[in-house]
């Protein structure tokens, strides 16, 4: 047990903090899930990249700083503490990139990663389809072989694609073996959204932002493997896309998407709100104050749990199915955090401000990245070892 940071780590923290203090916009940017807001967020991404801060843990050749996992945690803590803008590049940097690192060829890594960290390429995910949500293996979008052209022709529909309307590329699974069922016969594709035959339609989200898109593919050509990365390609082996995708969804559920810094910073803002509102002497406030305290403790627990996970990873132990515990915990913590905020606001909770928007966004946590029902099944079956029979 060593709960302190090394001198180098502390120095890194100071650098990051100073830079953020000098550079984070004084006024919060408008939501990155609207067209105007997205443009402003892109500017921010360029500035991060110039400093090597857009993907600190990546090797420098790909635009990162080659930082350790510990430094990454420190960066994230400082990032959220400074209330810096949301990362509109997160689907690429945090979800796709780990898969490219693991399954991509050298050519793919060299082509895609620098464009991703510099926000030149903006990736959205194409997992869900109208009839394949929780049941990802029900995918029907298909890719037919075009032997002559040396590639595939993609057709079908993807939906719930966050910020799809503002992105440049899509990653997702398509059925390459027409005879196959369920998770067999799928291949992982990388597709530019400006390819011929692609149509993207944005639509509205609960919290008022136009953050979702449907993507329609009509005979879209994608070349084999890494033969021409600029036109897209396949990632990993043909018909083996399920295994490749699972690596991505694990990172979606695990450490990378939800760093503890986010919840500690949000809990700190909740504590500020609580102080600001003042604790009057009556019992309502006591109840809310207890809820605020619960949230604070939970954010601490999440942070310590992550430190324990990172220690394990650094020492070569894999968290495995336990990442499902993480996902359930942070998503429900986020809901409780915003519930406490609305309770503090009382009749003002219905105002369309940051806390109510945050509340609505928090409610998507238990739904996306594998519903919490599915995560609890995984915990029960793969961590506790309960029998799989039945639903």
């Amino acid at each position: 047990m060593d709960l302190g940071w090394s001198d180098d780590e502390s120095a890194f923290r100071n650098d990051v903090r100073s830079w953020l203090e000098a550079n984070v916009p004084a006024e919060p940017l408008p939501s990155g899930d609207t067209a105007e807001g997205f443009a402003l967020h892109l500017d921010w991404e360029y500035r991060l990249h110039a400093e090597g801060y857009s993907a600190v843990s990546w090797p420098t050749e790909f635009g990162g700083l080659g930082a350790s996992l510990w430094d990454w945690l420190i960066f994230e803590e400082e990032y959220y503490r400074s209330a810096a803008p949301q990362r509109v590049t997160q689907n690429g940097i945090f979800l796709l990139a780990p898969t490219i690192f693991e399954f991509g060829t050298d050519a793919q890594r060299r082509y895609y990663l620098p464009r991703m960290s510099s926000a030149e390429d903006l990736w959205c995910q194409g997992w869900s389809e109208p009839n394949a949500g929780s049941d990802l293996a029900a995918i029907t979008s298909k890719a037919s072989r075009d032997e002559a052209a040396g590639g595939w022709r993609l057709s079908g529909q993807k939906t719930w694609t966050t910020r799809g309307a503002f992105c440049t590329h899509l990653f997702g699974l398509f059925r390459t073996d027409p005879e196959s069922e369920r998770h067999r016969g799928l291949t992982y594709f990388l597709v530019p959204l400006d390819a011929e035959g692609m149509t993207v339609r944005g639509f509205g989200r609960l919290d008022g932002d136009e953050g979702f898109a449907e993507v329609f593919l009509d005979d879209v050509f994608v070349p084999d493997g890494d033969s021409d990365p600029a036109r897209g390609g396949t990632l990993g082996d043909v018909d083996q896309g399920w295994g490749v995708a699972m690596a991505t969804t694990t990172s979606e559920r695990g450490l990378t998407l939800r760093s503890p810094g986010r919840f500690q910073a949000a809990a700190a803002r909740l504590v500020d709100l609580c102080r600001e509102r003042g604790l009057d002497a009556d019992a309502v406030s006591d109840l809310v104050a207890d809820a605020v305290t619960r949230v604070w403790i939970a954010a601490e627990a999440y942070s310590l749990y992550t430190l324990s996970d990172v220690t394990g990873i650094v020492e070569g132990r894999s968290p495995g199915a336990k990442s499902s515990l993480n996902k359930v915990f942070w998503s429900e913590l986020d809901v409780e955090l915003h519930r406490a905020a609305l309770d503090l606001l009382g009749p003002e909770a219905e105002l369309d401000g940051p806390w109510n928007r945050g509340w609505q966004f928090s409610l998507s946590g238990p739904i996306y990245a594998g519903t919490n029902e599915i995560q609890r099944n995984i915990v029960a079956e793969r961590v506790l070892g309960l029998p799989r029979v039945g639903r």
Partner: protein, 339 residues
């Protein structure tokens, strides 16, 4: 002892339900999001006035039906079921009986215009920290001050709309009012009136929350029975079943508290305030449970504005903490119970 609605009440509620199914579709609710300044749906308000719903508690002399709070409560439930974008609680459940019972004769004389739908009142209780819904469409405001309840002409005070930071429920236009209370606008029995108005607003809001909950539950049951994943309807999974059973449980055991409170508030029963608080606490909690279950069971589609669920979710989130949230009302019960 008989704890059930009578045939007249059931028939009136059924008739209203039919009318609302035609005249308060989700499209009508959506349209109210765009109406500026929002008077909610004016066509619907006319219909409700003509049916006698608005003036239900007004005396026959004032053009009303001379009925009681218990007769209105199941109509408010129906209004909640369709998320009706109209101020039934403020006008029909609160202003009309409050002015009739506790107003000066001049104030009481405005009731006829309220009952026939030609005039509206919006409610501003201290507990809502000065936030008023639909003030711009109201001729008068029923405002609470430290000395009790006042009836104030909207034209005589400063109304500041909360734009752009309006309600997440786009059919609700919020405003704050700046005014200096003077004795001439006080009701005849101002403090009793304020207390009664709070109780009535709480019970009326609770009834609407129950109606909203019922619809969210129905929509969700319908959706999960149709939507298939892994080859079966998602509603056949035990986790979803139990979550929806819990949602129903919360709603089913909140409702009787609301009906009881409507009866005793109308009777000026000595325990009426405690009953009203039990009702609002239980209904607020139940609606919150139902709303979260509904969104979770819908999955991503519930998270889009193209799908109707969000209309009900947002109204629910607004009303949950309106006229006191569950914790506030439980504290009121607790003081009666434990001192």
């Amino acid at each position: 002892m008989r704890f059930a609605f009578d045939d007249d009440q059931l028939e009136f509620a059924a008739a209203l339900k039919d009318v609302l199914a035609r005249e308060c579709t989700p499209e009508v609710v959506r349209a109210a999001w765009d109406a500026l300044p929002s008077a909610g749906s004016t066509a619907l308000w006319s219909t409700l006035s003509e049916m006698g719903v608005v003036g239900l508690l007004a005396s026959e002399a004032a053009g009303g039906l001379g009925l009681a709070d218990i007769d209105l409560v199941s109509l408010l439930f129906e209004a909640g079921r369709v998320a009706a974008p109209v101020p039934l609680v403020d006008v029909a459940a609160v202003a009309i009986p409050t002015l009739s019972e506790f107003g000066t004769s001049e104030q009481a004389s405005t009731v006829a215009a309220l009952a026939d739908g030609s005039r509206r009142v919006a409610l501003g209780l201290l507990i809502d920290r000065g936030i008023i819904v639909g003030a711009a469409a109201a001729a008068d405001l029923l405002l609470e001050a430290d000395d009790g309840l006042h009836l104030v002409a909207t034209s005589g005070v400063q109304v500041e709309p909360l734009e752009p930071l309006d309600s997440v429920d786009g059919s609700r236009r919020l405003a704050r009012v700046t005014w200096t209370p003077t004795p001439d606008t006080l009701l005849a029995d101002p403090t009793v009136a304020a207390a009664a108005a709070l109780d009535r607003a709480a019970v009326g809001t609770a009834a609407e929350l129950c109606g909203l909950s019922r619809t969210m539950l129905d929509m969700t049951v319908g959706y999960v029975s149709e939507r298939k994943q892994f080859g079966v309807p998602v509603g056949s999974y035990q986790a979803l079943k139990h979550r929806l059973a819990d949602a129903l449980l919360a709603l089913e055991f909140a409702q009787p508290l609301v009906w009881r409170a409507a009866q005793t508030v109308g009777d000026r029963h000595p325990e009426a305030s405690v009953h009203a608080s039990m009702a609002k606490a239980a209904a607020s909690d139940a609606a919150g449970i139902v709303a979260e279950a509904a969104l979770q069971c819908h999955g991503a589609i519930g998270y889009t504005v193209e799908y109707d669920l969000h209309l009900f979710l947002k109204r629910t989130w607004a009303l949950q903490r309106r006229v006191g949230d569950a914790a506030w009302h439980r504290r009121r019960v607790r003081r009666a119970l434990l001192g």
